[in-house]
Amino acid sequence: MEETKQEKPIEQPKPVPKEPKENPIDRLVVSSSPHFSTEDNVHKIMHTVILALLPACAASIYFFGLNALFLIITCIVACMATEYAFQKIRSKPVTITDGSAIITGILLALTLPPSFPLYAAVLGSVVAIGLGKQIFGGLGYNIFNPALLGRAFLQAAYPVLITTWSEPLTKAAKQGIDAVSAATPLALMKFEHKITPHLDLLFGNTAGSLGETSAIAIILGGLYLRYKGYINWKMPLGYFGSIAVFGGIFWLVNPLKYPDPLFHMLAGGAMLGAWFMVTDMVTTPTTPIGQWIFVIVAGFLVVIIRLLGGLPEGVMYSILLMNAFTPLINRHTRPKVFGEGGQGGLTG
């Protein structure tokens, strides 16, 4: 018995499709209903998201110069290379052209400080795609937002490098120095109780990660996505709303100590998070109620971490934490099946 088991081939050969003799067009197609489908597809969505990210990239290059450009390119290339390598090793179809790796690369780059060393960015990209996505089986199966996972890994691996910020070129030029190490608006708020003017935050005239600075560029991209119908309006709106409400409560309690809600929304990663990470389809709930829970709790966590926690910024952790809860949320917020529950057919 043992012997025969050993002999048995591990790989079961798939039948080789035979070339049909007759012209295949003469044969009718059969498929299960519906035989019809929407024109949207994954590639289209992904490419639109990339397009929507361009303003933010452009803004970061404007403010931080070539450093930003190199960082973005490095992340994209490293992400695509990792995806390619993983899929080759697993002998799965290579899907680096579907754009999802590019998005991860851009998003990762946008969360890094401009002076971040490129080798570390490569490490982050490998982690983002390798650990964040491919280990779960690739696009669609990942639990955590890959870009944020990569960034969280880097934050833990290189805590110093990732908190070393520089002033944007626009300010540095004014001060006549090349690159000045500086604090982000949130760090200034937290440790030195200085509030950066809202206008600077809006246009991006502050120190910070590539994509944290210019709120307006991100809003542009986000609105474009919304216009194309690829993001659910609930997600950014709920997230901002939740941040504003909880931030506002703190502000009302002590306006001197805590910043106003608008500051919360404009500073740090809240913009990028709200438009491009909370709206990530794969890692957020699919049910209507679940989506509300996700954004509200995430917004709450942001405020708590920013104001009471040890770290100045909480957007990344708030989203990662909620990502981990997403499967549970999905399971427990199943919409009520039509006609389910109650006898109330007549009243319903």
Binding site: V29, S33, T283, F338, E340, G348
Partner: protein, 444 residues
């Protein structure tokens, strides 16, 4: 005023312009018809004729003793050539009577339009409908008389005529409403009489204003207090449960019938057939079939004898386009059934024949689910299809059932809206099958 509708659903391209403006033409008399002995939900009929018998148009050739069943009739004059298993458009092979025609046509009465409603009793109407073999003509083919005979404990208070025709491409009901509104309304009146119900509704999607006009105009003299309800154009507006929700705001509970909330829903075509049956004792011999789709050379609405083969019908519409992959569907593209063989006959439930070609066919390849939630957002019965399909694929009938999978109405919204092009409905069907299997095994 916002239009009445239900929650969720989708807005596909309807492509109704191909045939919506085309008057219904009478198809050529077929030389041979294949009458399957089962064209309805319920017990199959036993043949009443033998090979070699001569039959006339309208002669009953098959019947069964069961309650839920419907007799079948010969649709031409001729001779029974064979009684054997023949491919059926719903799939598989069904015992069918094959009749070779002699080319003659029977005349059914042709008097003034209208019924002598006062002299008709509920029983005579029901009897006429039963004898005429009328089944729901929207596709499900449930025997009409059964719907008209509710159990005593179920009080029916409303009748809805379903004129939504939400399936893309199909226009057969639309044409019927424009061309024969009086007959439909008289049929409706007979149905209401049979049920003893006074409140009637006709639900029509607002993309058919001409049909609404025609019915509004005609109803004044026939049933003045009938309500014609324009509905939002949205798929699947025509699904029974959705229609009842939209018009009466009632929810049919899971696993229950419209009857349970006091409603009976009939199709437009059924109403017209009821009129014919009651007025002329004419069985269901022919029906309007929309032949459309981008693979058809001349899309048309045809009045076709039941039993005519698809091949013959398609040939009368200029045939199919050459050089492209083609998909022939009985019904519309959302819920219709793909055909492997064009030898199958038109049956009572064939509302259309849609031929898709080339790029219009959904590709076979699909990508992994990106959990966009599109299927959850569009599902009219509030399911989570992406999750249910996992349960179906990994054969977990318990979970499938617990998550409400058996409530799926297979409308196809989920697959339609899936950006990864996943065959969700197919998996859901597998899941439902597995639940049934598990239940059978459990009760064993």
């Amino acid at each position: 005023m916002t239009l009445k509708t239900f929650k969720h659903g989708i807005h596909p391209d309807y492509h109704k312009e191909l045939t919506a403006g085309k008057k219904t033409e009478r198809a050529q008399l077929p030389k041979k018809v294949v009458i399957p002995l089962q064209q309805h939900i319920g017990a199959p009929c036993q043949p009443l004729v033998k090979k070699g018998d001569t039959v006339t148009e309208g002669q009953k050739i098959g019947d069964a003793a069961a309650f839920v069943t419907s007799p079948v009739h010969s649709t031409i004059n001729g001779k029974v050539k064979e009684i054997e298993k023949h491919p059926h458009p719903v799939g598989g092979k069904i015992m069918s009577v094959i009749i070779e025609g002699d080319g003659s046509v029977k005349e059914w009465g042709n008097g003034s339009i209208g019924l002598d409603a006062d002299t008709l009793t509920s029983e005579t109407i029901k009897n006429a409908i039963k004898e005429a073999g009328i089944v729901g003509m929207g596709g499900a083919a449930f025997p009409t008389v059964v719907k008209l005979s509710p159990p005593k404990d179920k009080k029916i208070d409303s009748v809805i005529l379903n004129g939504c025709e939400c399936e893309p491409y199909l226009t057969s009901d639309h044409r019927l409403m424009i061309e024969e509104p009086e007959k439909i309304l008289w049929g409706m009146k007979a149905i209401m009489k049979a049920l003893g119900v006074s409140s009637g509704y006709i639900g029509i999607e607002e993309n058919k204003p001409d049909a609404i006009d025609a019915l509004e105009k005609a109803k004044k003299s026939i049933i003045p207090d009938l309500k014609i309800v324009p509905l939002e154009t949205k798929y699947p507006q025509g699904a029974e449960k959705m229609l009842i929700k939209a018009i009466l705001k009632r929810r049919v509970p899971v696993g229950k019938l419209p009857m349970d909330v006091g409603v009976v829903v009939h199709n437009i075509g059924t109403a017209k057939a009821v009129y014919d049956a009651v007025k002329y004792q004419k069985p269901l011999l022919e029906r309007v079939v929309t032949i459309s789709g981008n693979g058809i050379n001349e899309p048309k609405n045809l009045m076709v004898r039941i039993g005519t083969s698809f091949d013959e019908v398609i040939n009368q519409c200029g045939g199919m386009k050459k050089g492209l992959e083609k998909l022939v569907i009985m019904g519309g593209p959302m819920m219709g059934i793909a055909q492997t063989n064009l030898d199958v006959p038109v049956i009572k439930g064939t509302s259309g024949i849609t031929v898709l070609a080339g790029d219009a066919i959904r590709p076979a390849e699909y990508q992994p689910c990106i959990r966009c939630g599109g299927c959850v957002e569009t599902c009219p019965v509030n399911l989570m299809p992406y999750r249910l399909t996992d349960y179906a694929r990994f054969n977990e009938p318990d979970r499938f059932k617990a998550w409400g999978g058996i409530s799926c109405i297979e409308c196809g919204c989920c697959s339609f809206s899936c950006p990864s092009n996943r065959p969700l409905v197919q998996w859901l069907r597998v899941g439902k099958l597995r639940v049934r299997e598990a239940e059978k095994a459990g009760s064993r």
